[in-house]
Structure formats: C-alpha cells, structure tokens
C-alpha cells in the first residue's frame, strides 16, 4: 500500500517540484548542520505563499501575518526533526495549515475581516474589466464589492472545504499535495473540492454569466 502510494506520489510530482524539493533539502541540511542563516533563504522563498494560504483561510491580514511568523518559528524550532521524507514545502504548509486551524477553532466566534488590495495584473485586470463592462459600475467600488462577496462566500464554507479550495484554486497545488498536507485521501480532496465549488457557484451566481 505504501509502495503504491509512494509510486503514485512520484508520478504525480512534476520535475520542477522535484527540483525544488531537492534544493530545499540541501538548504535544510545546512540549517541542521548549524548554518542558521541558511534558514533565511527558506523564509524568503516561502513567506508569500505561506502568507497567502493563511490569509485566504482566515481573511484577516493581521492574523495572517502573525500566523505566518509563528509558522516559520515553529519550522525553525523543529527543523532537526525534518527527515526529508516529504518535500520541505509540504512540511511547511502542514505546519501553517495546522496553526491556522488551531487559530480558527480557538476564535470561531471572533471574526474580523481585513483585506489586502487586489494587485491588478494582466489576468485579474481582464476579469475585472469584463465584469465592470457588463455591469457598468464604477471600477473601484465594484472591485471592493466583489472582494467582499468573494470572501463572504469563502467564509461560509467549512474549514476543510475552504482549505481545499484555497490550496487548489488559489495556491495551485495538486490533489496529491493537498491530500498529503491535509492528511486525507485524494478521493476526499476531490469530493471536498467538488462540493465546495458547488456552494461557491451558488453564492456567486450573480457574477458568473
């Protein structure tokens, strides 16, 4: 069973990911050997991705910043326990996800949203353009409203469903990687993703034409 899992994982891992994992493992070995400064490379490499996951899960920029810092501190404290069986980023994501889950469960009743501004790049700009052209609304007001609606819809999902959507659609991880991070089967990931998308579709119907 483990062998099948390992083979499917190897097949599912793209060469870029594999290269990335190997490079990370080299850095981790340096840190484990006592070169503490090498850990900064890992922080610089992953801080935005880790922040993005946490931010999309809790929809609060201050909490996301705190939790990202905590994630790196925890990773640094337990770097000696990292054996290289999984890739470093999967291990780091797992720490981040667990920290966020703990935080969300603790503060279930306290929800304050604070959003980052949407950085308008090619793709996002196109989408916003298409939506504003259709509605004829003021661009800035429309973007703000859309952002709020999107976050509201995501917050209506359960933590597990939100996590699957965030990791797959926003961070672009594969089903296998998500399954490894969330410690569940690929089938579960797929079904959760399907269900979450159905719910989101219903919530954001007015924008999807």
């Amino acid at each position: 069973m483990d062998l099948t899992k390992a083979i499917s994982k190897t097949l599912a891992t793209t060469p870029e990911r594999q290269q990335e994992a190997d490079a990370d493992w080299e850095v981790v070995k340096k840190v484990q050997a006592g070169d503490v400064a090498a850990f900064d490379k890992l922080i610089l490499k992953y801080r935005e991705r880790v922040y993005s996951i946490i931010y999309n899960l809790c929809a609060n920029r201050e909490d996301a910043a705190d939790l990202t810092q905590c994630t790196f501190i925890k990773a640094f404290q337990s770097i000696n326990r990292f054996q290289g069986q999984a890739s470093f980023f999967t291990w780091l994501y797992r720490i981040a996800v667990n920290a966020t889950l703990t935080h969300l469960r603790k503060n279930r009743l306290r929800t304050f949203f604070s959003f980052e501004k949407i950085t308008e790049e090619d793709k996002s700009s196109e989408i916003i353009e298409a939506l504003t052209d259709r509605t004829g609304a003021d661009r800035e007001t429309f973007v703000k409203e859309l952002q709020e609606k999107l976050n509201e819809a995501l917050q209506k999902l359960s933590i597990n469903h939100r996590m699957v959507v965030t990791l797959f659609e926003i961070d672009g991880l594969s089903h296998n990687e998500i399954a490894e991070i969330m410690n569940c089967s690929v089938g579960t990931v797929r079904s959760r993703l399907h269900y979450a998308k159905q719910l989101l579709q219903a919530e954001l119907q007015s924008y999807l034409r």
């Binding site: 922080i43 810092q69 326990r81 700009s125 989408i127 298409a130 659609e169 924008y207």
Partner: protein, 290 residues
C-alpha cells in the same frame, strides 16, 4: 495592456473569480515590517524556556531505538509495583511494615523518658537512616520501649489522644501499631514525664475542636444564660431573678439538693417509666423528658 482590455473574456467562471484572490497581496513595505517582527519573535522563542515534557518528548522522539526498551521497562516496573502493593493484606505498602519507619521507632528508644537531657525523640538522630536492622528485631525493640512508658504518663496521654491512651494501657497490643503511632505514643509519654503542664495544656479543648464539638465540654448554665439574655435586657433580668430564687442558677453544673430529692422520689414510684415522653441523645448527654 490595451490588447487585454480590447479582448476581455466573454464568460467569467468561478475559477476566474477565485484567481482574483491570488492577486490580493500585501504591499512591499509589509514585508520589511514582517521581517523585523519575525526576528523579534525568533529571539523571544530562543529566550523562552520550553517545558520539561517538551524536552523529554523531543529526546524520546529523536532516539527511536530507545522507544521499545524504555517503554517495556516502564510497563514492567509499573506492573511490579502494582503487584507488590496489592498482594499485601489491606494493600499496605511494604515500607510501612519494615525498613526505615521501623528503624525510626528503634531510634526513638534512645530518647527514653528517663533521659531528661534528650527530651524529644524527634531529634535529628531519628531522621537519620539507621543501619540495617531486621524488621522483627525492631518490632521487639519497640514493644519493649512501649512497656517503659510510665502509667501516670499513659493516663495523661489518654487525655490528649484517647485511642493512644487505650493502646498504652493495653501494652501487649502496642507492637501491632504502626511505627508512627508508636512514635507518637512514646513522644507524648516523654513529654508527660518532663513537662506535665504541657500535656494538660494539650488535653484542654481549644480552637476548632472547641467550636466544632461543643457537646464534648460540660455545659454550664451560667455560660448559656447570659448569651440568651443578651437578646433582650428585661427578659434577662426576669430569667435571672426566677432562677436565682429557685436556686437553679449556679456557676457550677451541680444539681441542687431539692431537685435530687424530687427525682429520687419520682423514681421510687411504680410506673414512672410509663410517664416519660421523650428520650434524647445529644453529644455525650442522654436526657429524658417527663
């Protein structure tokens, strides 16, 4: 940019909307602040002391080859201790029967009541572990010790701790006592010989004992009445006057002569036992109401 605007997507999908979330990014200045805070937190984490169980778990987790032998040893030790504890009659631990506590009693024998220079047996010598002494020898020794307690002292001891007094009077049973009880008895006996006043002081009820067990002390009318009279002054005066004229109000709990006579007369009559209505037991008193 103008090319993109000229060809906007005809249909916006859910994936497109979610892609907008990717574009929610913090400004560059956010990361300099982030870096500074992270450094501070890293330093704080270095200074912060981790709990001992974290250290233990980390050490135990690291040394994987140790897990099986350490776990097995722990289970064996626990089973052995449980078996040893529960196999004894009454579940009394081994330590109470032999070994050190028994030696403790033997050491007490050195501080005999006759020896005024060494008044108390709880001297430091008693705490020192005595050289190996077999449990049987020590119990014989402590029996002999108990027999040395003077009878007068045992009377005083019984005033302080009734059950110990009984035990001292019935000396044959002393060896069946626990070492701590023997120690207690011998110490009290020593104190009774050296400082008789102290034992009297100990025997007097005080503090909690006095408050919690009022039935144990004799009731004096003189103590009760003023308390009751304090409620209303006229009532107090009336009660005191009536009791004074009847000769009932005395400072001592003695029964007046005329009351004794009337009780004797009453008891001499036939069928007196049919006339009493209530039998009341309160503390150490038994009262019959006619």
């Amino acid at each position: 940019m103008s090319d993109h605007r000229s060809n906007p997507p005809s249909r916006v999908t859910l994936e497109d909307l979610l892609r907008l979330k990717r574009a929610e990014r913090p400004p560059p200045e956010f990361w300099s602040e982030f870096e500074r805070e992270l450094r501070q937190k890293q330093l704080a984490a270095l200074v912060e002391r981790r709990s001992w169980w974290h250290e233990l778990a980390a050490t135990y987790g690291k040394s994987g080859w140790l897990r099986l032998p350490v776990g097995a040893t722990a289970v064996l030790a626990l089973s052995f201790l449980s078996l040893r504890y529960y196999s004894r009659p009454g579940g009394e631990p081994q330590l109470m029967a032999g070994g050190r506590p028994a030696n403790h009693a033997v050491t007490l024998a050195v501080a005999k009541p006759q020896d005024n220079a060494k008044p108390l047996a709880t001297a430091p010598a008693a705490r020192e572990p005595a050289p190996e002494a077999p449990a049987s020898a020590s119990s014989v020794h402590s029996t002999a010790l108990a027999s040395e307690v003077p009878p007068a002292a045992s009377g005083q001891v019984s005033a302080v701790v009734p059950w110990l007094g009984d035990v001292l009077e019935n000396r044959a049973g002393t060896s069946e006592l626990t070492p701590s009880a023997r120690t207690f008895a011998v110490n009290l006996a020593t104190v009774a010989v050296i400082e008789p006043g102290l034992v009297d002081a100990l025997a007097r009820p005080r503090g909690f004992e006095e408050r919690a067990m009022p039935a144990a002390r004799p009731r004096h009318t003189a103590e009760v009445l003023p308390t009751a009279a304090a409620v209303t002054e006229p009532r107090r005066a009336r009660l005191l006057a009536s009791l004074g004229s009847a000769g009932v109000y005395t400072a001592e709990p003695s029964v007046p002569e005329h009351a004794k006579r009337s009780v004797n007369r009453y008891l001499a009559q036939d069928g007196w036992d049919r006339s009493f209505s209530r039998l009341e037991a309160e503390g150490d008193h038994l009262s019959i109401k006619f």
